[in-house]
């Protein structure tokens, strides 16, 4: 697993309080991990902080699964 993926998954586990085994690339934040819409905003803010990048709103809207976040942050961070 890449370093980015590990950091992303750590944030998701901490923030949503979910079982690390459930945090796989295909996991949808809302449908599979029980996040609400506010959680998704907070996750984006947490990613921005961890990786020191700014995630524009239109990009944030495309981040719906764990793998989406890993892919986006691997490109930009």
């Amino acid at each position: 697993m890449s370093d980015v993926a590990e950091r992303v998954k750590k944030i998701v586990v901490e923030h949503l309080g979910v079982d690390p085994e459930k945090v796989v690339d295909e996991a949808n934040f809302i449908e599979d991990l029980g996040a609400d819409s506010l959680d998704t905003v907070e996750l984006v803010m947490a990613f921005e902080e961890e990786f020191g990048v700014e995630i524009p709103d239109d990009a944030a809207e495309t981040i719906v699964k764990v793998g989406d976040a890993v892919k986006f942050l691997s490109k930009t961070a």
Partner: protein, 245 residues
């Protein structure tokens, strides 16, 4: 009760009668307070009067860039932000048929749009900290209407709807969003009234007196306190009984 030691507050319109009373009250309860307004000298005088926990954060609320910069500036000076008081407001009264687009836009921009932008910025760091108090100063006019104040009444009613929507969104993060709606308050404007005008106004107020800045500040303090943690999306009317809603 109502101890704000260590809390960080931003008050807009802090050089006005109401804003000054609110800033003094929050400060007296131990808060660090950022004073915002357009008149830098008056802000600095108030900060000097209050003491070392007060800082100055000038802002022109009718200018978008100036508004966007205010919350980050206050957060930097205070080291965070726990309490936002959207107090600043302007009037441009005229009969509805004579109300110019400019009069409408100017009042909505300062009273409502600036409060929206400041709240949007403030709630971001409040979410992280799982704590926050957003208090907007409305008006009895926002609920009752008032001839000659179509723009002002709309802006104050708008604050109520906005606050309820935001309150519902962020309640799970222990952030509360409320409105304090004053009635007739002693101010430089009401000092200019004739005895006859004053009598006419007071005939509508069961309490038989105008409100003071302190009456409003006490309501703001309550909503800003830990004790009001379960109160959100509310409008607290402070009007001597002139409107019982």
């Amino acid at each position: 009760m109502f101890d704000l030691t260590g809390r960080k507050a931003l008050v807009t319109g802090a050089t006005g009668g109401l804003g000054g009373a609110i800033a003094r009250t929050l400060y007296a309860q131990g808060a660090h307070v950022a004073l915002s307004g357009t008149r830098v000298e008056a802000l600095e005088a108030l900060a000097a009067e209050l003491g070392e926990r007060a800082v100055v954060a000038p802002c022109n609320l009718s200018d978008k860039d100036s508004v966007e910069a205010l919350v980050p500036a206050a957060e930097e000076k205070l080291g965070g932000l726990d309490i936002l008081v959207n107090n600043a407001g302007v009037t441009r009264d005229n009969l509805f048929m004579r109300l110019k687009d400019d009069d409408w836009d100017a009042v909505i921009a300062v009273n409502l749009t600036a409060a929206f932008r400041l709240s949007r910025a403030a709630v971001k760091s409040m979410m992280r900290r799982r704590y926050g108090r957003i208090i907007s100063i409305g008006s009895v006019v926002g609920t009752m209407g008032n001839p000659g104040q179509g723009n002002y009444a709309a802006s104050k009613a708008g604050l109520i709807g906005m606050s309820k929507a935001l309150a519902a969104e962020v309640a799970s993060r222990s952030i509360t969003v409320n409105v304090v709606a004053p009635g007739f308050i002693e101010s430089p404007m009401t000092e200019g009234l004739t005895d006859k005008q004053r009598e006419a106004i007071l005939s509508d107020v069961p309490m038989g007196r105008l409100g003071s800045g302190g009456d409003i500040a006490a309501a703001v303090l309550y909503l800003a306190s830990n004790e009001a943690a379960y109160v959100t999306g509310q409008t607290l009317h402070v009007n001597g009984g002139m409107a019982m809603i």
